[in-house]
């Protein structure tokens, strides 16, 4: 059974309505990520933001990117960030100050950047655009493993290097922990 292209009893198409809902959720969650005091809640708001972004990818017509967004960002990166937060929380840190002293100039710069970018987007004529088409996953797979196979392999090597580097950097050096207590950095 099809549910039609518009919301019942109105003329608003479903994709426009869903786009507005997802976009609003994403922007609100993003604002919460950069403004909330409790950093754990910032991490959870980041997960909401990425979930809404996955919905927007589906509306554009890139279902594989949406699935990868859910797997990589909500599943992996958010968990990594939450673990890092739990490893670096201190009880005695002055948690009342969330922002640096440059917060107001930073806000002005961000607003200026957004205004300039939006004006540029509206003023640009993008030429002959196609209708919004859904990406065919079979075509994507063929492209990934023929035209883009070298970047694909390089990304694989990069991920291996990142894993090895991450383990090496975060590893606790047992032999030298004692002599570093109150050592040269503090």
């Amino acid at each position: 059974m099809a549910i039609g292209t518009t919301i019942p009893f109105t003329t608003i198409p479903w994709d426009d309505a869903l786009f507005v809902v997802f976009a609003g959720t994403m922007l609100l969650a993003a604002i919460l990520v950069v403004t909330m005091k409790d950093i754990i809640r910032c991490g959870l708001a980041m997960m909401v933001c990425f979930g809404a972004l996955a919905g927007i990818y589906v509306i554009i017509g890139a279902p594989l990117v949406a699935a990868a967004e859910v797997l990589v960002y909500i599943g992996a990166i958010s968990v990594l960030v939450l673990f890092a937060i739990m490893l670096t929380q201190t009880k005695d840190a002055p948690a009342s100050l969330v922002f640096q002293t440059q917060a107001i100039p930073a806000a002005l710069a961000a607003v200026l950047l957004a205004v300039v970018t939006i004006l540029a987007i509206i003023a640009t004529d993008w030429g002959a655009l196609a209708e919004r088409v859904a990406t065919n996953t079979t075509e994507l797979a063929k492209k990934l493993f023929s035209e883009w196979v070298l970047p694909f392999e390089i990304v694989g090597v990069l991920l291996l290097a990142a894993v090895v580097g991450g383990v090496f950097l975060a590893k606790r050096e047992r032999g030298r922990d004692g002599e570093r207590e109150g050592g040269q950095f503090r």
């Binding site: 198409p13 994709d15 426009d16 507005v20 976009a23 609003g24 994403m26 922007l27 609100l28 993003a30 990520v33 950069v34 910032c42 991490g43 933001c49 927007i56 990818y57 017509g61 594989l64 990117v65 990868a68 967004e69 990589v72 960002y73 990166i77 960030v81 890092a84 937060i85 490893l87 670096t88 201190t90 840190a93 969330v98 640096q100 917060a103 100039p105 930073a106 710069a109 970018t117 987007i121 509206i122 993008w126 196609a130 209708e131 919004r132 859904a134 990406t135 065919n136 994507l140 492209k143 990934l144 883009w148 991920l159 990142a162 580097g165 383990v167 950097l169 975060a170 050592g183 503090r186």
Partner: protein, 129 residues
């Protein structure tokens, strides 16, 4: 309790205004709507990166900016005729590189935390002394 209602009201006004703007810009069938959304997300991420004190908050802001760029890439892939599936492929590559960046960045933050006992970046002043 009253704060929840005020917050919900402000969110409703925000989403409603955004809806009017999006419908005026052509709705979800125009490229402009997605690019405007991506630029807003990028600006929010830039503000977070410049303004937050916590190093992990700054990394989260970087993730927001990477996602904004990814959104614009996917939007171009969906709307530009010659690009086809390449937009999605580039977006997947960007995601993999972002995952690598998050791994190494968080490992560096944990390593610094072990030495300095604080996650706040304005305390990292060993180079200025």
């Amino acid at each position: 309790m009253i704060r929840i209602f005020v917050g919900a009201f402000l969110a409703a006004v925000f989403v409603g205004g955004l809806g009017i703007i999006a419908l005026a810009a052509g709705g979800s069938r125009s490229l402009d709507a997605y690019l405007v959304l991506a630029s807003l997300l990028f600006a929010i991420g830039m503000f977070g990166f410049l303004a937050r004190r916590n190093a992990i908050s700054m990394l989260m802001s970087i993730e927001l900016m990477l996602n904004a760029v990814n959104l614009s890439i996917v939007a171009f892939g969906g709307f530009v005729k010659g690009l086809g599936a390449s937009g999605s492929v580039i977006a997947l590559m960007v995601m993999a590189v972002a995952a690598a960046e998050a791994t190494v960045g968080l490992a560096i933050i944990i390593a610094i935390y072990r030495n300095k006992k604080t996650p706040l970046v304005d305390e990292y002043d060993a180079m200025s002394q």
